[in-house]
Amino acid sequence: MIETLTRAIFWLFVIITIGSAVIVVFSRRVIYSAFALLFTFFGVAGLYLFLAADFLAASQVLIYVGGILTLIIFGVFLTAKIYQMNIPQQTHQRYLALLPVLGILVVLVYGLYTADWQVVQTDPEPTTKRLGALLLTTYLVPFEVASILLLAALIGAMRLSRPRSEDADIPEEENV
């Protein structure tokens, strides 16, 4: 019984992830794509739980859903013209784009299906403590570099999104 339920929930997460990703790509309205992306992130977080990555599942929900998705929805509101949201969202070369995409899909699925995977099945265990130790020993330097990167991105984003009016040498009204 529990087995069946677990399988059902697993397939539910798989279907949520892929189905909402399809909506993200093919929806005609940007805002629908943004909300479908929410379900994709939740689906991936659920798959992380099935993969015994508890800390990552929590981070996925907190950072992606709480941070990145909020940013993206802000971006949609600030840039899309609300009354023109129903215009076609695809460029002209969409059928041309299918060619390399389908090629990559075929190659990846073929490799996935035919490769001789050496799989080791281990028991799931809590990961947070071990991940913390790993981040402060093996991955200490990338960890510090990542914090500097975040600081630089923070300052850069603030600098970029401020009005240009302080730059006296660049006339602003010219292209508006």
Binding site: T17, V24, V25, V30, A53, Q89, L98, V101, V109, L131
Partner: protein, 102 residues
């Protein structure tokens, strides 16, 4: 037919391909950013899958954490750039913002 391992990797493949299609075909810059997020998610998912199916090894999960960090930084900077593009060109469509001289 497929093992669990291959199903997880298949989800990763699907997310990657859909993200690639999104990046290549969408007009709106925010949609392109969503495609990039899909691709980054598929990469992180792959890292976690390989971490789960090797013996007692969390290196993949640590790599996934760095992927999430990069995604956050990238989203913030990209949206700042989009706001600037919108202010200058009055559109957020990537194929109409074709002027280098801001």
């Amino acid at each position: 037919m497929f093992s669990d391992f291959q199903i997880y990797l298949g989800v990763g493949v699907a997310l990657f391909v859909l993200g690639l299609l999104c990046v290549m075909t969408r007009k709106n810059a925010v949609s392109v950013l969503m495609g990039v997020e899909l691709i980054l998610n598929s990469a992180a998912l792959n890292f976690v899958v390989f971490s789960r199916y090797t013996a007692g090894n969390l290196l993949g999960q640590a790599a996934a954490i760095f992927v999430i960090i990069l995604a956050a930084a990238e989203a913030a900077v990209a949206l700042a750039i989009f706001l600037n593009i919108y202010r200058i060109f009055a559109t957020a469509e990537v194929d109409r913002a074709d002027q280098l001289r801001g």
